[in-house]
Symmetry: D2
Subunit: 329 residues, 4 copies
């Protein structure tokens, strides 16, 4: 399914020349110091494996023993807590489901910051509220460590193939150190600015993506109801000012494009639940910064309703199906 | 101002090869029979002049005598009513502000259909409800005439330079006859399907355009509030799945792009009032066909409120300014 | 089912003393001249029967012969067309599904206005766009007749029991003549102002009703999710500034009130389809008068989506069920 | 200004008989043990004064020395930190602007919980996220203390006159102890359930209030545009199913009612900024509990935009003015 969604946050590498650099490291493995990795879920495990593949010793931990076992079998050293990881590694990557997990792993009783060494580089690839990223950075700084946020775009497939895109926020001087590790796990690394801006970039992109997708679904549906052929309508939009990624690359109407979830009963791709989660983050940051986001907010509500009406695990382009009139109405 | 907006519904001509054909007519002027033209406003007058320039005798009328005078001075024959135009021309183009005007000009007591000759080709370039286009087509057919809808994209500048885009709905066999005339006034002519689909295509594009624009404005504003540099954010979006025409071609944030209304205090371009009108048409067609358009509907409301809060004559990208926090808040 | 909804647009008669008057006519039946009745559907038939019951001879017509048959059996004279009704009656009531039907019945080739006598009183009880009511009034005036709009509140049950509420728009001098007939069919008659204001009042009420209902459903759902007992929450709202008809008279949460559709699996009451129709009218009038109605517009979209997701025939309070999380989510 | 808004969350005392009890304490002042009070802002100061007036010794603190001075002059003992308050009082009331302040005052380095005595009753009257209330309750329980949330309705005036309404969440056995103090500061005390439900009740009420207010503003505006007299329209709505607190008690249209902010250029009452804050809380709790609130969410966005368009300090009923067409449009 990842093939279908590889393009979801794809970036044209040529365009990125001045934004990121793919480091082809020639250092020998022997010189590599251990990297900590905390959070061995669907995304974290293949990411950590890519670090191993690139010759980095990995010190890992997770709340689920099975996840630890799998990585141990691939050569990682498994320890009992984030604090222990922090004792043994001075570069640590975290990949966790949500803000509370991040807070626990960094500042909890057995958290990283309980044992972190001065100068340690902490990279959080979770997708969370940028305000939490900032809090973690402040807490890390108090201990003499450096925190960067580096959320990813791309799904499990991209993680396995080291094709993720990382959007990085944090002190610019530390960016190259982060980049060295991130390029082992991703195809693109973009520096976005101060701590939290990596999260901000991801959240902003996904909010506009959701708006464009629902807008495309509404528009295609309306056009079809008005007698337009869907393929022709897509062509007209794509040559005109209505053009967007959802209309020209990921069209939600079955039959318009091939190789996208709409061609496969909305299986694979980027699930409605995940989109609803990201829109919830966008909503929270907008609320907390008092920023009006009327369409972003309504998009959030629509995906939220879809989650409770049977669309939770379908690709987010299934909003076309959700809005479409039933047969016989 | 049109320069800034030339791109608003621009189409890549190469892409259009299989959709439309630019006819380079070699017929001598002597062979050209008169063309009727009704509606000599800001758009109609330059369109009619382009017909004259291409050697077509023009029989014109308008409710405002001054408009008639201007065209008469350029060589057109002015008559008193649509009915009289219909007596003297068997190809007639109408360019009127809204549905009621179209209904009056076609079916009113001095309307075209009172005197239309059998086989006459009627082309309506007004932007109106597609349901009205269909009604006019039925009424025309009863009189043995053929009605096509052919709304335009592009403003007064594009009309003067014969750079308009026409989206045409109507019987396919008559399309080439329409195309002959429309190519004198526009750079692109796209056949969309049955009567009303020209209107449908325009309305659909503009609805998605409005959604994309407001979405881009919200997203850029949120990103800026979260600490992202607006130019960098635009770059990231434009390489990613958030990309849309409003983000990559017509960015609403001052300082991100040059040559767009946001670089010029939102002057020129496509006015908020006109966008609100088109969204009203989209809303009406959606309501009447029972099609849900939640974001399109909210976009309509936002532009409607903007019209009453001092943004009526600014470019529609000024929604960025409308949503942005005031200084000191 | 009507029992459950009798209160839907109920008015407290005492409060209405200065707005309307129940005329207790003492005229003998013998003196009563015929009343025309056009549109013998679910609503029209019981309304016409109530005129018969009150001693008015009725001249009726409908496009469906069976409907005519039923009324004929109750004593009405059935004729072939609205024009024929107009020849035989100088007071005519119409009760039709939507605007196009009204236009046809009044101005069509066999329409009322083809044969209407000078001074005829025309009362349209259909729920339609007030702009169409105004058009009909102008057309009637040209023929020397008087047109009033008098849409109803209350369903089939209220129609049978002569418990409808009429909201009347039209020339004030004719109001008493209309009232004489309307009081045979309804419990309350409210004079609203010029032609179209009857429709306007009904549309406005139902728009605010829809907003209040969805708002109540959202609020109750949120409160329950936050741990509040639904009955207690309803009590608190109803004593506070959140109070509205939907919270205190027609609560959408099963178990909070008895005798309402939410207590009966949302059967009976006022169907989602009908609400969506009325919101469509509100939307159209708002669009056409350039009035922003953001919540009204979103309410319309929500009911429109519900219609296509299996809620078409449930009471409109089922929006609570629609928004509520599914089991297991 | 408070007079105008006294009714904003007013409750009919008779209706409340079974929900709350006004305790007429007969204990002598001499027997009263000190009450701690933290947060001496516009609301806190008059609340603390009412405790003094009722004979309770008050131990107070605030970050602003001037606020402390004022209360000291009225007889309170001022100390340096929340921790010190906790050392000296076993009943403490907090009244703070927002969640972060509450977290700091309870769990910060000089916070209450650093020195709290076992069995202390902690009552937080701030309006904050119910999730934070729950966190505080857990933290308090760890120290052997009891935490209750008791947000208020009513403004500065109601605080001065001891006419506030308290909505209380927490362990039921402790409710009467809380009630003893709260009745010194308010006219009504409602027990809502477990910790956090006081906040939930307030947030829910205000969300539905905002929806009803915007809905009423839209509806009144639409009706006026359609030719209805605003007073008549309000009467019709208030007798019908459109009725709500905003239409019948706090109508937003100037000229319809007296003694409300709309009769006084929207001065006084409940400011748009405060409403936007409460809607932000509603939005956050809805997002975090994955509850769809489409109208609540849009209401939030509308008040957020109003804050940035010059309506921040006007009463929240000024949304009527915000939505209304400008003159000359």
């Amino acid at each position: 399914s990842f093939n279908q969604f590889r393009g979801y946050f794809r970036m044209d590498i040529n365009k990125l020349n001045h934004l990121s650099t793919k480091i082809l490291s020639s250092r020998s493995m022997a010189s590599k110091t251990p990297v900590g990795f905390i959070g061995l879920g669907n995304m974290g495990t293949p990411m950590a494996k890519n670090l191993l593949r690139n010759g980095y010793p990995v010190i890992a931990t997770d709340v689920f023993p099975e996840s630890c076992k799998e990585l141990q079998d691939t050569g990682a050293q498994v320890v009992d807590s984030p604090a222990e990881v922090a004792e043994k590694a001075d570069r640590i990557i975290t990949m966790l489901p949500s803000s509370p997990n991040v807070i626990e792993v960094y500042t909890g009783p057995n958290g990283i910051l309980k044992k972190v060494k001065k100068g340690t580089l902490l990279i959080d690839s979770s997708t969370i509220d940028p305000a939490v990223s900032k809090e973690m950075a402040v807490a890390a700084e108090k201990m003499g460590a450096v925190f960067m946020d580096a959320p990813v775009s791309g799904g499990v497939g991209a993680a396995s193939l080291a094709k993720l895109t990382f959007m990085v926020g944090g002190v610019e001087e530390e960016y190259h150190a982060a980049q060295e590790l991130l390029t082992c796990m991703g195809a693109n690394v973009v520096y976005c600015g101060q701590v939290g801006t990596g999260q901000a970039a991801k959240i902003c992109n996904n909010m506009l993506l959701a708006i464009g997708m629902i807008g495309t679904a509404e528009t295609m549906n309306l056009g079809i109801r008005l007698g337009l052929d869907p393929k022709l309508l897509a062509k007209i939009l794509n040559m005109s000012s209505g053009r967007c990624w959802s209309s020209d690359t990921y069209n939600p109407v079955p039959g318009v494009m091939e190789g996208v979830p709409s061609a496969n009963n909305y299986q694979g791709g980027f699930g409605t639940t995940l989109m609803a989660k990201d829109l919830g983050l966008a909503q929270n940051t907008a609320t907390n910064t008092k920023t009006p986001v009327p369409l972003g907010s309504l998009a959030h509500q629509i995906y939220r309703v879809m989650c409770s009406r049977g669309y939770a695990n379908k690709d987010f382009s299934s909003v076309f199906q959700f809005l479409r009139e039933e047969e016989g109405q």
